[in-house]
């Protein structure tokens, strides 16, 4: 699109790039801010239903649609309190650090083929890396609040998140290994076709891996039963005890953003991302979205986007369900769960998937016939992959093996 603006309309290139970057950034911001508004409302409704009550019903019509907005306005108008003795600069900046980490990781998250803020080759890695930075916001908040409860929360969060990055990383590596790429767009597209192509159903090991991933994801975004950093019955409110108003709400936007992010990541890695359970788009348009162009591409992508959002929201809903059902674990039990259960299980699954691949056992994709174009599965080992030269790339980048790179560029340009 930017190329089109430059070449056809003669716009000033830096301006175009800046505009494009801002457009992408604001779209992502919309997703995270709008998303958290919806999710907070949803959390209340889900909690209400689970607890045999109605949840918000008044603000904004029948279902209390505008409750979160009203709350947002309330939070905006609240006094920005800062405890005496707090490290003023760090106290002010900590919520933004947490928010930026959550927000930053959305940059590399594709919502459908080619619809991604920044198409990074190592997107999986990037998303996990940036999401891991959220812990700094929490640690700084805990330290800077000059409150002992906050400090407890921060230390818990640090210990917990750092521990859970290990099994989380192991779980993420498994689909990456099957796909042979760290590019989320490609991983998603490799699972197109029937739902049996999803890596969840790839083999029994990936099936278990998904649940380990979900557990670790719950822990790494601090949701119950792993919400020890804010454990309200123990630590008052944990790391955000001293926060109020807008700064407090930034922590929550970050939390809900991260919840959506890990669910979305899980759905790309295991649940086929934007590919529905049946290849509807492929039947209609005859091709998978990554092979299409123009209007059909947009249409197919919108379908995919809906499937993707649905899966991610489902993941978030299950998180809420868990939160309102289970009691909270103790910190030593959380760490035990990580090191004694999740990590060994993930490691065994890792070995299991490797063995499955090496032995050439049938995977889920073999069960149902899959669509020809969309589901070209890449073999697990690199040796079988052709050493091609990307034709659409400048010679500086001429060493990529990624044959689909050009296609994606085209898709992006067309989109």
């Amino acid at each position: 699109m930017s190329q089109y603006l430059i070449s056809h309309w003669g716009w000033y290139p830096p301006l175009v790039y800046t505009l494009m970057a801002m457009l992408a950034a604001s779209l992502v911001l919309l997703v995270i801010a709008g998303g958290s508004v919806v999710f907070i409302w949803m959390e209340r409704k889900v909690a209400g239903r689970i607890q045999d009550r109605l949840g918000p019903t008044r603000v904004g019509g029948k279902f209390g649609w505008l409750q979160t907005i009203a709350d947002g306005i309330k939070l905006l108008s609240k006094e920005d309190l800062r405890p005496e003795g707090a490290d003023a600069m760090l106290f002010r900046i900590a919520p933004y650090v947490a928010f930026c980490a959550s927000y930053g990781s959305f940059i590399a998250l594709p919502f459908a083929t080619g619809w991604v803020g920044l198409d990074i080759n190592v997107a999986v890695f990037f998303v996990v890396a940036v999401l891991g930075l959220e812990v700094f916001g929490v640690i700084l908040a805990g330290y800077a609040s000059a409150s002992k409860w906050s400090l407890f929360g921060a230390m818990r969060e640090a210990a917990q998140v750092i521990s859970y990055e290990v099994p989380l990383g192991l779980c993420i590596v498994i689909p990456v290994m099957i796909a042979g790429t760290m590019d989320l767009t490609k991983i998603g597209n490799l699972q197109s076709g029937w739902f049996t192509n999803w890596y969840l159903f790839h083999d029994p090991f990936t099936f278990i891996t998904f649940f380990v991933y979900y557990t670790c994801a719950l822990a790494s975004v601090n949701r119950a039963p792993f919400d020890l950093a804010e454990a309200e019955s123990e630590l008052v409110a944990g790391f955000h005890t001293e926060y109020s108003g807008l700064r407090w709400s930034f922590f929550f936007m970050a939390e809900y953003g991260s919840m959506f992010l890990v669910s979305a990541l899980g759905s790309i890695l295991f649940l086929g991302g934007w590919n529905g359970p049946v290849p509807v788009a492929a039947w209609i348009f005859g091709e998978h979205a990554s092979q299409l162009s123009g209007f059909a591409f947009v249409l197919a992508n919108v379908l995919g986007l809906m499937a993707f959002i649905l899966k991610a929201v489902l993941g978030v809903t299950v998180m809420m369900w868990i939160r309102w059902t289970l009691p909270r674990l103790r910190i030593d039990q959380v760490i035990t769960t990580c090191w004694k259960y999740c990590t060994p299980i993930a490691a065994v699954m890792f070995v299991g998937v490797i063995s499955w691949q090496l032995m050439g056992l049938p995977n889920g994709g073999d069960v149902l016939p899959h669509h020809e174009q969309g589901s070209r599965r890449l073999p697990g080992s690199l040796r079988e992959r052709p050493f091609e030269t990307g034709d659409a790339l400048p010679s500086a980048n001429s060493v990529g093996f990624e044959s689909e790179h050009g296609e994606q560029e085209r898709g992006q340009v067309d989109g």
Binding site: P14, Y17, M89, L90, N121, V122, A129, F136, L382
Partner: protein, 213 residues
């Protein structure tokens, strides 16, 4: 210098430059903030920002894998460790340890000399070689730099390089890779050994000490 070049640099500037300036200035600023901040917690915070900005520079240089590694390992791993250390030792007297004036002078002197040596070298290296090939080198550089900064996939080649498969611009690194991994293991064991429980203390004495102090 902006005035001297007037309209010229407006024409040359592009998205890449803007982003580079953004990240570069952030990196430099926060590095200096680390030096000039006395509070050790803030130092750690500035260091986080400086290193995160550095990873941005890595991305801009086309080293996406290294940039992400920087985020995962350096910022997400090493610095969390460091922050942990800061918090474990962040007793009030140690949060701000002032540096003596003399130390500052000596350090500024040494730093200044280092900078005076390093910066001219940077300029010399950055200049196109005088003898030949400058047409090709410069134009290509400009061509690349003025285009949209796309991330060049490097992960596969780096991975193969680490596994000992030499590519056209990468040598095989199997042996260093193995050495590093052994080294890492040894270091982890060593660190655990160093920080392990080694002092046996009778609790009652301890509580008396606390009561007394």
């Amino acid at each position: 210098m902006g005035n001297r070049n007037g309209g010229r640099w407006m024409g040359e500037i592009n998205g890449h430059t803007v982003l580079f300036l953004f990240f570069g200035i952030l990196t430099c600023l926060f590095s200096l903030a680390v030096v000039f901040s006395a509070n050790v917690v803030r130092m750690a915070f500035y260091l986080i920002l400086a290193l995160a900005a550095t990873s941005g520079l890595h991305f801009l240089a086309g080293a996406d894998f290294v940039g992400t590694m920087q985020l995962v390992l350096y910022v997400g791993g090493t610095l969390v460790l460091l922050v942990f250390g800061v918090m474990l030792t962040a007793q009030n007297p140690f949060i701000s340890l002032r540096t003596a004036g003399g130390d500052w002078i000596v350090a500024a002197l040494v730093g200044g000399i280092l900078l005076v040596i390093l910066v001219p070298v940077a300029f010399q290296i950055g200049l196109p070689p005088q003898d030949a090939g400058d047409i090709e080198g410069l134009t290509q550089r400009e061509a690349v730099a003025s285009s949209e900064p796309v991330s060049v996939p490097t992960a596969t080649r780096i991975g193969l390089g680490l596994l000992g498969v030499p590519g056209d611009d990468v040598s095989g690194y199997l042996l260093p890779f193995e050495i590093i991994s052994i080294h890492l293991l040894v270091v982890l064991v060593g660190a655990a050994y160093l920080a392990r429980a080694k002092r046996k203390v009778v609790v009652r004495q301890e509580s008396q000490n606390i009561a007394g102090s």
